[in-house]
């Protein structure tokens, strides 16, 4: 029995009459890369939203294993996630678009600056200066890691979606999460370049020693990258297991991939 990084137990969420999540139950094994697949409306992004706290489920619990014992994420405020070691990226590469890449990476390390309250920042105390130096160093390292170092001073709105994706990756790397949620990391990136993305993601997971959950529509990439695949449809987990097994599961074939595969 492997360790469980995140235990999703019977999570339900309805929008009006539509059951977006209908009793989702799944234990995410620690240290693995877990790919979530499913047709549009299967509830993948909604599941991410409940894990990261932007939507409260009607029922169920989401237990995160932390060094200080298990924590039920359903009961925690969204902004507590970073401190608990959960990082996430968004479907359409949302970032702070008026800031430069370096400033974005300094901003996301907000939580780790323990000595930089309003007063200490204004006075420029030794602690605040040390914090500032630390986040600048981390920011440059993270940009180096994804190959964006030479764009560090450009504002995000001048960059392409693909570069924003990389910057987003650098951002989650810099907050050193133990559980990483990536929502369609390959969207907005040209087909040829997604091949380069997979090894990069694997390297990021190893670098952080993190468990990685990702939603993806690029089948070859996710099958290649993931240790485990979870298939969802209509708010439920259809099946999960090794990529090869899930690929040939009859229900997955009918609900998502179609008969032709």
């Amino acid at each position: 029995m492997t360790d469980v990084a995140l235990s999703i137990q019977d999570v339900q969420l309805a929008f009006g009459g539509v059951r977006a999540l209908d009793g989702v139950t799944y234990d995410v094994p620690a240290g693995q890369i877990v790919g979530i697949i499913g047709p549009n409306g299967a509830g993948k992004t909604t599941l991410f939203d409940t894990i990261s706290g932007f939507r409260k489920p009607d029922r169920g619990s989401i237990i995160l294993s932390t060094p200080n014992g298990p924590v039920d994420l359903v009961r925690e405020q969204p902004w507590r996630r970073t401190a608990l070691g959960v990082g996430r990226t968004f479907q359409n590469a949302r970032l702070f678009r008026s800031l430069s890449l370096r400033d974005i990476l300094r901003t996301v390390q907000h939580d780790s600056m323990k000595h930089s309250g309003l007063l200490r920042s204004v006075l420029g105390t030794r602690g605040a200066r040390a914090d500032e130096a630390m986040v600048s160093r981390n920011a440059d390292e993270a940009l180096e890691l994804v190959g964006l170092a030479r764009h560090a001073d450009k504002p995000a709105q001048e960059l392409s979606t693909g570069m924003l994706r990389l910057c987003e990756l650098a951002a989650v790397i810099s907050v050193k999460p133990k559980l990483l949620l990536l929502d369609e990391p390959s969207s907005g990136i040209a087909q040829a370049e997604t091949e380069a993305l997979a090894p990069l993601l694997r390297r990021v997971a190893e670098h952080l020693g993190a468990t990685m959950l990702l939603i993806e529509h690029d089948m070859p990439m996710i099958m290649n990258l993931s240790d485990t695949i979870v298939a969802m449809a209509a708010g439920k987990v259809v099946t999960y297991g090794a990529p090869a097994d899930v690929r040939n599961h009859p229900e997955v074939l009918t609900s998502y991939l179609g008969q032709s595969v």
């Binding site: 990261s52 008026s98 939580d111 309003l118 994804v146 570069m163 990389l166």
Partner: protein, 695 residues
């Protein structure tokens, strides 16, 4: 019961006017999705024109070319009802012109941009009104009242005048006409379809341009009628008063989600009746204690209703999380902004001057000499033999710099549109007056007291603001500013004087006091902008969701921003009180807030360069001309130019003057967008790194 009944006619009739204003706003919003903050300005313009021709006026047209001279002095003097068609035709034309030349270019922009644009337009119309029809109060005599002011009938022993009954009748007629228009005409149906889904409606052949014209012309005529009726009802009014009363119509409209006629009309009546009840039962019993209570209670109710977020208010609105204008304004990396930002300017200047080689010695002289001379000029300026009228404008300019700085913090950095900064100027002034006169504290303490007093007030407005964004936040802060203006400013009259100790009580000494404190505030703001706190502001401005995902707490960050900006405005208010010798009702009103918000946006609200430009352009320059020219001839040309400039700048570059060079640069490089290729390159690089690491 009789006492209660006696308040009804007054409450019903003001409520009816608010309801009429609200319905006109709903008409425009339903068809075009544009929040029209210029509505009060439109109503004022038509009302002033109307009573101008009713009172009789000779217009002068002069034409003077080389050999041709022409003079035309027509006199227009019409009876009230003969003037009505003329005024309504003017209202219709105004609606058309505004839609066609001001609104249409902005139609697809974000709600925040439209809010600033229409606020600026309202200011422009108000200034034009004062320039054309004079800045004196408009007094509607009994002869010119809309209906006779004699009693028409009595309800429960209370007389109701023809005027009041007539206005209620007009509003009822307008409501019926609107209902019939939406129910029975094809244009009405098209507007309803367009309000439900604009894209589907335009696919089905509904012309959105035609709808926009129809609704703006109709809405403008409703504004005209409301303005004419309102001016008659309040007997004595000025452009600012009429605009402010119209904001209550806006408050009523937003309670109806800007789409519901019945709720908007109901809210209009509720505000009118609520005000009248508070006036009768509270102000009537103790006028000095309950000063401003009608506005505080009714507008407070509007803020609470908004903050409760009932579903119907948010149903009909377009939702753009992206703060539009503001995230583009925020970037401070433009060369011009750097050149104007004092700290950045000094750095750029140092980098530009060579200090080695042949010019080395000369370079050093320039490098330390030029900033030295500028600094020296700022420091010894009051002692120079300049004309005496120079010091006073300089003091005002520095205080205005602080006010614009507070807008930069809350609107530019935090991304929360606030029209309430003037209220903090009033709070600061009030704090100083209370500490100095009621508590008898010695000099520096009242100033500190004023700033401290602003903190609980910031939190008071900050709490509902936490739940609101964009348009709703703008209305909530507007309501707050209006209530604060009525509750605070009238409590301080000319007898409540504050003065600095004798040694400091000259314009020259005050200049140094203000200079030091302004420099101190700018320094603190600059430190904040470069720190963790400043970055959390920008994060909230650009995307609250992403910020939250990275552990930034919106509640804490927003309250911090409101408190910091409120404290800066309060400091400005305190200094202003010392400069003027007391609290002056001209400073700290909602009108004052809107004016300076406009100036701040024109100058550039994203960087520290903005306040400097605004202080020089809209503070020092007009104050200097006021001092130089004889003070009796009041001209509104500076206001008109500034408001017109706002519209032009918003059209071509929402970043304001301080980011103009950035705008020009981005235009130039728009065609050479190689970003996609570069992604490939960097991804490939990253992959190569990954391979290397794996090996």
């Amino acid at each position: 019961m009789t006492e209660f009944l006696s308040t009804l006619p007054g409450g019903l009739v003001t409520g009816a006017v608010y309801a009429l204003l609200a319905m006109g706003l709903v008409l425009i919003y339903k068809a075009t999705r544009i929040p029209n903050f210029a509505y009060g300005g439109m109503a004022t313009f038509v009302a002033f024109f109307h009573y101008d021709i009713v009172n009789g006026r000779t217009y002068g047209f002069h034409f003077n070319a080389l050999f041709v001279h022409a003079n035309w002095h027509p006199t227009i003097h019409l009876s009230f009802w003969a003037a009505v068609p003329v005024s309504l035709a003017l209202a219709a034309a105004l609606g058309w012109v505004v839609e066609r030349f001001v609104i249409r270019p902005f139609a697809r922009m974000s709600t925040v941009t439209l809010t600033v644009v229409t606020l600026g337009l309202g200011l422009l119309l108000s200034a034009i009104t004062q320039q054309l029809f004079g800045a004196n109060d408009l007094i509607v005599s009994n002869k010119n009242a809309i209906f006779s002011r004699t009693p028409a009938f009595a309800i429960g022993g209370v007389n109701v005048s023809y005027e009041r009954a007539g206005v209620i009748g007009i509003v009822a007629a307008f409501a019926l006409l609107t209902y019939a228009f939406f129910r029975y005409t094809s244009t009405g149906l098209a507007i309803r379809a367009s309000a439900t889904d604009p894209d589907v409606a335009s696919l089905l052949g509904v012309s959105s341009k035609r709808l926009a014209v129809v609704s703006w012309v109709g809405g403008s005529m409703a504004a005209g009628i409301a303005g004419i009726a309102l001016a008659s009802l309040v007997v004595s009014s000025n452009p600012n008063l009429l605009s402010l009363l119209s904001f209550k119509g806006f408050a009523a409209a937003i309670v109806g989600g800007l789409v519901s006629f019945p709720i908007a009309a109901f809210a209009g009546f509720a505000i009118g009746i609520g005000e009248e009840l508070a006036r009768h039962y509270l102000v009537g019993h103790n006028a000095s204690l309950w000063q401003g209570a009608p506005e505080v209670l009714t507008l407070g109710a509007v803020i609470v209703t908004l903050a409760a977020r009932p579903k119907w208010i948010f149903r009909g609105l377009r939702d753009d999380e992206d703060s539009g204008l503001l995230s583009r304004v925020g970037a401070t990396d433009s060369r011009l902004a750097r050149a104007i930002d004092p700290v950045e300017a000094y750095r750029a200047f140092r980098a530009a001057v060579p200090t080695a080689g042949v010019f080395g010695r000369f370079g050093k002289v320039v490098r330390y000499g030029v900033p030295g001379v500028l600094l020296l000029f700022t420091l010894v300026f009051p002692m120079l033999p300049l004309p005496s009228f120079w010091t006073l404008p300089a003091n005002f300019a520095l205080i205005y710099l602080l006010i614009v700085l507070s807008f930069v913090v809350v609107v530019g950095w935090l991304g929360q549109i606030s029209v309430a900064q003037g209220a903090f100027v009033a709070v600061g002034g009030a704090g100083v007056a209370i500490c100095a006169n009621n508590l008898n504290l010695p000099f520096p303490l009242p100033l500190i007291g004023g700033v401290l007093l602003s903190i609980p007030v910031s939190i008071l407005i900050g709490l509902p603001a936490l739940r609101l964004r964009g348009l709703h936040l703008a209305v909530a802060t507007l309501a707050f500013g209006l209530a604060a203006e009525r509750a605070i400013l009238p409590r301080f009259n000319a007898s409540n004087r504050v003065a600095l100790p004798d040694s400091l009580n000259t314009d020259g000494a005050r200049y140094y006091l203000i200079l030091v404190l302004t420099a101190f505030a700018v320094l603190i703001a600059w430190r904040i902008s470069k720190s963790r706190v400043g970055r959390s502001f920008y994060a909230i401005r650009d995307s609250e969701t992403v910020a939250t995902a990275y552990g930034i707490r919106p509640v804490r960050v927003k309250l911090t921003g409101f408190v910091v900006s409120g404290a800066i405005s309060a400091l400005a208010g305190g200094l202003l009180a010392y400069q003027l010798g007391g609290v002056n009702s001209q400073y700290g009103s909602v009108f004052f807030s809107i004016t300076w918000l406009t100036y701040a946006v024109v100058a550039g609200i994203g960087s520290l360069g903005g306040p400097v430009i605004a202080a020089l352009l809209f503070g020092l320059y007009p104050e200097l001309t006021k001092g130089a020219v004889n003070a009796t001839s009041i001209s509104f040309i500076p206001e008109i130019v500034a408001a017109a400039l706002l519209l032009v700048i918003m059209m071509i570059n929402p970043g304001g003057l301080a980011s103009m060079s950035r705008f020009i640069r981005s235009r130039a490089s728009a065609h050479e967008d190689a970003a996609t290729d570069e992604t490939g390159a960097s991804l490939a690089l990253a992959a190569a790194d990954a391979d290397e690491a794996a090996a």
